[in-house]
């Protein structure tokens, strides 16, 4: 989106990333279809799995996080987003409530790892220790670790709900997401 020719000076900068989610909330974002063209006139996506940039800029207007905090890596990303983004949005039920990833909280972490990497594996069952982030004992919603400004529940929130929230923010108003979405929507 940063490739459009319009001046980028007054545009609102947006960063997004996914933590422990399924990327469905990002897909729902893309489901805004032709409205993305309108949006591209008003916002600049400066960091996201949807674009190429590798580093979170120093200052971003709006940060959007999908997914719960389940690993050390998720926690670091959430803290970085909080530090660099003026306004932080929890997008989707995993970010807002813990949702499906948090179902594992009812089991011991060692049992969860055994189930995934030993019990169901035929060849060289082993629990990975290198190059993968260490899992936290308890999966948590984002606001239990860093302050969040806007909550958009839904699994995933509809494209209409995301459009509503972003349009309100761009217009300088505080959105009331309960008007358009809910847990499990």
């Amino acid at each position: 989106m940063s490739t459009t020719t319009t001046s980028t000076a007054n545009r609102i900068t947006v960063a997004t990333t996914w933590l422990d989610g399924c990327s469905g909330c990002h897909m729902s974002f893309l489901d805004m279809d032709e409205r993305l063209v309108d949006l591209a006139q008003q916002i600049d996506i400066v960091y996201s799995p949807l674009v190429d940039t590798k580093e979170l800029p120093e200052q971003v207007d709006i940060g959007i996080l999908e997914g719960s905090i389940s690993s050390e890596d998720d926690l670091e990303k959430a803290k970085a987003f909080r530090k660099h983004c003026t306004l932080l949005i929890s997008l989707g039920d995993c970010a807002v409530t813990g949702n499906v990833p948090a179902i594992r909280n009812h089991f011991k972490l060692s049992d969860v790892l055994d189930r995934a990497y030993r019990e169901n594996v035929d060849l060289q069952p082993q629990i990975p220790t290198k190059s993968v982030p260490v899992l936290l004992t308890t999966v948590k919603p984002i606001h239990s670790e860093v302050e969040v400004d806007v909550f958009v529940p839904g699994c995933p929130p509809s494209a209409d709900a995301i459009w509503y929230v972003l349009s309100e923010l761009i217009a300088g108003r505080k959105p009331d997401p309960s008007q358009v979405t809910r847990f499990g929507a």
Binding site: S90, D93, V96, T97, G98, N99, V100, A102, I103, N105, H106, T138, P141, H143, S144, V148, F151, V152, P153, C155, D176, P177, S178, T181, R182, F183, G184
Partner: protein, 243 residues
């Protein structure tokens, strides 16, 4: 069935709810008058046709001149009463109650059989609960799938006791009761036997239909498939009282 004859010695009172001047029979509760006049008051344990429980406190209202809040489902109207149903303070309390219900047990709406047809979920949305500020307790509760037609998931139970009351007052079986206190409180069948082994349950399914959440559901339902039908209740309740 003959129409119920109005009781001659029941008086009519006048009162004000929000900004409406209304009249009501003196034996009516605030919530009944609100429902008649389409004034929305959130509620979970109250259900037209069952006795009043007054446990969930979602229906709290303010009565002018009284410092403490009153439950609209268990407070009778009175002459000259002035009721407020939706002040900022009430909205704040209701929000907190709903958040605590979500935090106490385990609600994962996206994979729940009652997704889209759940009174707790709908109230969460209408009261503006877009996140839960208290920490989730993360304590697992048991699921009883022993009944051939129905299932009980304590993780989704909000202890409204609608199941207990409908089974006792309408079906007359009194299979359900409540055991334990605080967060250990559970609804039980017979003397805490698995539901499938209950000798009193007639498998009528009334408890499943009145349960506001995904705690009591039909076997074999998948995500979002459990739609409940409570139309039978006021009809049966009126017939019972007319006898």
């Amino acid at each position: 069935m003959p129409l119920p004859v109005p009781q001659p010695n029941i008086r009519v009172v006048t009162l004000k709810i929000d900004d409406q001047d209304l009249s009501a029979r003196e034996d009516e509760t605030i919530i009944e008058v609100c429902r008649e006049h389409k004034i929305p008051v959130p509620s979970l344990c109250y259900l037209d046709g069952l006795s009043v429980w007054g446990g969930c406190r979602l229906c709290v209202v303010e009565i002018a001149g009284q410092g403490r809040l009153s439950a609209a489902c268990s407070t009778r109207v009175a002459e000259g009463m002035h009721v407020h149903t939706n002040t900022e303070r009430l909205q704040r309390y209701r929000r907190t109650i709903i958040e605590m219900l979500f935090a106490e047990r385990n609600h994962v709406c996206s994979v729940c059989v009652s997704n889209g047809h759940c009174e707790l979920q709908a109230l969460g949305q209408s009261c503006g609960v877009d996140h839960v500020r208290v920490p989730y307790r993360q304590t697992p509760y048991p699921v009883d799938s022993s009944h051939e037609s129905f299932r009980l998931d304590h993780n989704r139970c909000i202890l409204c006791t609608r199941c207990v009351r409908v089974c006792d007052e309408i079906e007359g079986a009194h299979t359900w009761d409540v055991m334990g206190r605080g967060s250990d409180c559970l609804v039980i069948t017979d003397l805490a036997l698995p539901w499938g082994e209950s000798e009193t349950c007639t498998s009528c399914g009334k408890c499943v239909q009145v349960c506001p959440t995904g705690a009591l559901v039909k076997q074999g339902t998948s995500v979002g498939e459990m739609v409940k039908d409570q139309h039978f209740l006021p009809i049966l309740a009126r017939r019972r009282h007319a006898r």
